[in-house]
């Protein structure tokens, strides 16, 4: 069994008002993976991340980061974890450099001797060397986001937690962040990245967890998620009724007839075999297609369409 960078068991957060933000979730994030933590806004992603980082205390259940229980071991484990939580936050009256120096000084395990070199290379890595002396208040949104990622890279890390790292970024900035995530992952660091947009993370993730109203409704590798979607076969034909009989004989589930076409779940059947059977039965096949649902469709299927705030 692979080692896990993040685990939780029945992790639950109930706010004082009685609202359950996170409801018994069991996370299992394999070491070395890029884990996409997906879910619409308000589904409990950030609250989960806050609990993982020891910022919020769970109502019940437990969590472990790199094998250490949180929040008890927060002080010992967090220096190995870089994080970006709910957008960047820095002192507006300090320069980018001084801001990083501030966070570095707060870390009791960071060596002051190497601080300069580490801050320099973190800034270099996110392309902010030229703006190092500029006050944070004059940074653009993309620069702020990159500075936040730089602060996560101040130390060699074993795990990076990024909460909505592309929030508010333009396509250019989104691409930059994605490239950074790839680079980080290439160094063998586990990346846990949350997003409400599947498209944003599907290109970089190896694993996904999907949240819906506080519950983890899916967790697994990307291919596993794909497999949950049933492929459908569509046949264009004027002989819909005859085709339906063939489908029935082949045992294709959920047939749906329309005026000039019929679709059904493909299941274990082989498309060319279905085609041969149709032709054999004298059905005039004008077109035949097999479609797998896109990840986007699967994601929406798991989390519901937009705007359905279910609480």
């Amino acid at each position: 069994m692979t080692e896990l960078a993040i685990t939780s068991s029945a992790l639950t957060k109930r706010f004082r008002g009685g609202q359950v933000a996170v409801d018994h979730i069991d996370l299992a994030v394999p070491q070395g993976s890029v884990y996409g933590f997906l879910g619409p806004n308000g589904s409990g992603k950030t609250t989960t991340i806050r609990m993982l980082l020891g910022l919020a205390y769970p109502t019940s259940g437990s969590a472990e980061l790199l094998g250490m229980p949180m929040p008890d071991q927060a002080v010992n484990v967090l220096s190995r974890v870089g994080s970006l939580v709910e957008g960047p936050a820095f002192y507006p009256y300090l320069s980018g450099w001084d801001n990083l120096a501030r966070y570095d000084a707060a870390d009791r395990t960071a060596s002051p001797r190497t601080a300069k070199q580490r801050i320099g290379s973190a800034l270099d890595r996110v392309g902010l060397t030229a703006a190092a002396k500029k006050r944070y208040r004059h940074y653009s949104l993309g620069m702020k986001q990159r500075l936040a990622i730089a602060s996560g890279l101040l130390r060699p890390r074993d795990l990076i937690i990024l909460d909505e790292p592309t929030n508010g970024l333009d396509p250019q900035g989104t691409r930059e962040v994605r490239a950074l995530v790839r680079q980080i992952a290439a160094d063998g660091i586990t990346v846990f990245v949350s997003s409400h947009l599947l498209a944003e993370v599907e290109q970089v993730c190896s694993h996904v967890g999907v949240m819906r109203t506080g519950q983890l409704v899916f967790q697994g590798s990307l291919p596993e998620l794909r497999r949950t979607g049933a492929a459908r076969i569509t046949v264009r034909t004027p002989d819909v009724v005859a085709a339906a009989e063939v489908f029935d004989k082949l045992g294709l589930a959920e047939p749906a007839k329309e005026e000039n076409s019929i679709t059904a779940e493909l299941g274990e059947a082989v498309p060319e075999h279905v085609c041969a059977e149709l032709v054999h039965a004298g059905v005039a096949v004008r077109g035949l297609a097999v479609e797998s649902p896109s990840l986007e469709d699967l994601f929406v299927g798991l989390t519901g369409e937009g705007f359905d705030v279910e609480r």
Partner: protein, 303 residues
């Protein structure tokens, strides 16, 4: 930066073998960084300049209104400071006590309230608190560093008043052996020692206000709200202290013992009053530190 360079920089310092600095060194570094953050912030520097201007203006104002020697100064100060006003014409050292008395009413508490109210609430407001804790700074450690910085700030502000007032007093008024409020005359050196003791006494008083400020600051993410709350508390305490009907609660008020520093200006020094004052400050420091700690280490950080 190329990926080859990345690989090199990562190889130099693998995550498992992080070289940790000593505990003392690391804590000192954090404290110095916090001091820098507070003392290099332009708003705070401006505050200290304003604080320094007050004794200068008070000195000039008193000099202009009392040109000749003798009892020229109109004793316009509140309460016990009237005695200092009369002494000033004879000795510039007394400008220190006048300035401290006047600035204790509002200016010094405001200066301490700004930094202590901002301490935790400001970080929460900027959102930097969650990152400091994720670093991890450690909640108790962060609170200790915050409070030590508040104490350093309060001490700096109080000493600025004393030192500037002393310099202005010496420059504008005659200086020599100091006649205390009890009528005894001590040497200039002994007089200056009393100035130092008075200043230190008030530093402790301001540290107590700082502890109250720190505690209030842990309850909100609006620094300005925390600062306002501290000031309301200080002014309310001062008002209640002035009402004779509330005399029985007066000794328990946080501001009651501030002006008692004049005990140091008598022979023999009234140590009982001073001890009561210091005890009151200590109780406030311990009590509000515990409130701050209990709140800060148990609550969720939601900012």
């Amino acid at each position: 930066m190329s990926s080859a360079e990345l690989a090199v920089s990562m190889a130099e310092e693998p995550a498992q073998a992080v070289e940790s600095p000593g505990i003392v060194k690391a804590n000192l570094r954090f404290f110095l960084n916090e001091l820098r953050l507070v003392f290099f912030r332009r708003r705070n520097q401006l505050l200290l300049v304003v604080v320094a201007l007050f004794p200068l203006l008070i000195g000039i104002g008193l000099k202009v209104s009392a040109p000749g020697n003798g009892r020229g100064g109109s004793g316009g100060g509140p309460g016990s400071s009237a005695a200092f006003f009369n002494q000033l014409a004879g000795n510039g050292v007394f400008l220190t006590f006048i300035a401290l008395t006047l600035l204790l009413i509002l200016v010094l508490p405001v200066v301490v309230a700004v930094v202590s109210g901002d301490s935790v609430a400001g970080e929460a407001g900027y959102g930097t608190l969650r990152y400091l804790l994720a670093v991890p700074a450690g909640r108790t450690r962060l609170l200790i560093v915050k409070y030590l910085t508040i104490v350093a700030w309060a001490t700096a502000a109080t000493f600025i008043v004393s030192v500037v007032a002393l310099l202005v007093g010496v420059a504008l008024f005659p200086t020599g052996p100091v006649t205390l409020l009890s009528g005894t005359t001590v040497s200039l050196g002994a007089g200056l020692a009393r100035v130092l003791l008075v200043t230190l006494y008030l530093c402790v008083a301001m540290a107590a206000i700082g502890a109250i400020g720190l505690a209030i600051s842990t309850f909100t993410e609006h620094a300005i709200g925390a600062i306002a709350a501290i000031m309301v508390l200080v002014v309310a305490s001062e008002v209640v202290d002035q009402i004779p009907q509330f005399a029985s609660v007066a000794p328990y008020l946080p501001t009651h013992w501030w002006n008692m520093f004049d005990s140091l200006l008598r022979t023999p020094v009234d140590t009982t009053t001073l001890q009561h004052g210091l005890l009151s400050f200590a109780v406030y420091i311990v009590l509000f530190w515990m409130i701050a700690w209990a709140r800060f280490t148990s609550g969720d950080v939601t900012s």
